[in-house]
């Protein structure tokens, strides 16, 4: 097994430029290609501990973030390619790294329907997973990053993937996306945070990604049973609280946060029912990360089940 960080710098650079860099990420293999310095820097910083797949293994997602031709170079533009097609408009080279990560998210969000997929950060303590769905800006990534820096394992910053009929969460650990104030919040929270390149003036503002695979089990591909579903919400003005939610409300809210609940029809309903029946559901309103992490550490039932 060869890790990306074991490649000599020249070899890494050459393989990335030529699109011969298949990385094992959760249950998938992404083949990456780029001729852009920020992308190479980000991948080198954030994916160093990921395994390089064998050349004859099936590639699930072939993605590239490249600057092609004289015009694109002159304009400082780059394009995201998926299986050699361009599903998006060109983007400024300065935003390339963030766009690569978003494109990699898009691959899973759009194409993978063997799982019930929720837009959720997913973390674990011991052998039990906690699913944290949330709309963009709810504070789930910031909390996910803080938990990852506090002994929790990050299973995903973006997708909770649940095989229908089970309560298991399939890990697909990739860097955590931090935006605007959250970047400094996490830097202040822990000096151990490893951040990739800054992407400025994106449609989400300033974006940086944090290395997520710092737990000893980060690359363990086995799924973990979900124990809780927590809907985090950052609020500066409200009292911090962890409060139980009704399962029926949580079902509907989790379905709202799903990428493919509607597409799966009855299978989606049954999958969500199986999941919701097995987890305790909570609202977590927070503005202080230390408080939020301590509250998560003391999650009712988690200690007993470790």
């Amino acid at each position: 097994m060869e890790l990306l960080k074991q490649l000599a710098p020249d070899t890494f650079s050459q393989r990335l430029r030529s699109g011969e860099l298949p990385l094992r990420i959760g249950p998938y293999i992404y083949n990456l290609q780029s001729n852009l310095a920020p992308v190479a820097e980000g991948i080198g910083t954030l994916y160093g501990d990921f395994e390089i797949a064998e050349p004859d293994e099936f590639v699930d997602y072939k993605v590239a973030l490249v600057c092609n031709g004289v015009l694109q170079r002159l304009r400082g533009q780059a394009e995201f390619l998926f299986d050699n097609s361009n599903p998006f408009d060109t983007i400024p080279v300065d935003q390339a790294y963030a766009f690569l990560e978003w494109g990699m998210n898009w691959c899973v969000s759009l194409h993978t329907n063997e799982f019930l997929k929720l837009h959720a950060a997913t973390v674990s303590r011991g052998s039990f997973a906690v699913i944290m769905p949330g709309v963009p800006g709810a504070g789930k990534s910031t909390l996910c990053a803080a938990l990852g820096l506090s002994g929790w394992r990050i299973l995903s910053d973006e997708h909770a993937m649940i095989p229908p009929g089970s309560t298991d969460v399939v890990p697909v650990c990739r860097p955590v996306s931090l935006k605007n104030e959250s970047i400094q919040v996490i830097r202040s929270f822990s000096s151990n945070a490893i951040l990739g390149p800054l992407s400025k003036e994106t449609h989400k503002g300033i974006v940086a990604h944090m290395k997520a695979d710092t737990h000893p089990d980060s690359h363990d591909a086995r799924s973990l049973p979900a124990q809780a579903m927590i809907f985090p919400r950052y609020s500066r003005d409200e009292p911090q609280r962890l409060s139980r939610r009704r399962r029926s409300d949580s079902f509907v809210l989790a379905a709202y946060h799903s990428f493919n609940y509607s597409l799966l029809c009855e299978t989606g309903f049954e999958a969500m029912k199986t999941l919701i029946e097995s987890v305790d559901c909570y609202d977590l309103v927070y503005h202080d990360l230390d408080w939020a992490v301590k509250t998560m550490d003391a999650l009712p039932g988690l200690q007993d089940r470790q």
């Binding site: 009704r246 399962r247 029926s248 409300d249 079902f251 509907v252 379905a255 609940y261 509607s262 029809c265 009855e266 309903f269 049954e270 969500m272 029912k273 919701i276 029946e277």
Partner: protein, 89 residues
């Protein structure tokens, strides 16, 4: 007056005062009151009259819980029609 479902839906009842109802006809998922959920459970792919429903519900529901069952049922049936879960023949 007869009522029928577009298609037999699926219900998730966690024992709370609301239930989740999935309608395969539209693909929509609804959060219904437990009473509305109980009404939906009475349909088994066959039409029921208002009188059938009142009879079935009066056997199962304590009149102390819902004093005017017929009025409550009428209101729920209207709501279910608006949600396009039920149709009126």
């Amino acid at each position: 007056m007869m009522w029928r479902v577009h298609s037999q839906g699926r219900l998730y009842d966690a024992g709370e005062d609301t239930v989740v109802y999935f309608d395969p006809y539209s693909g929509d998922t609804h959060l219904l009151s437990d009473f509305a959920g109980y009404v939906m459970q009475q349909f088994d792919n066959r039409p029921l009259s208002t009188e059938d429903l009142v009879l079935r519900l009066s056997r199962a529901i304590d009149s102390a819980d819902i004093p005017d069952l017929e009025e409550a049922l009428t209101s729920v049936l209207e709501e279910l029609v608006l949600l396009d879960i039920l149709k009126q023949d």
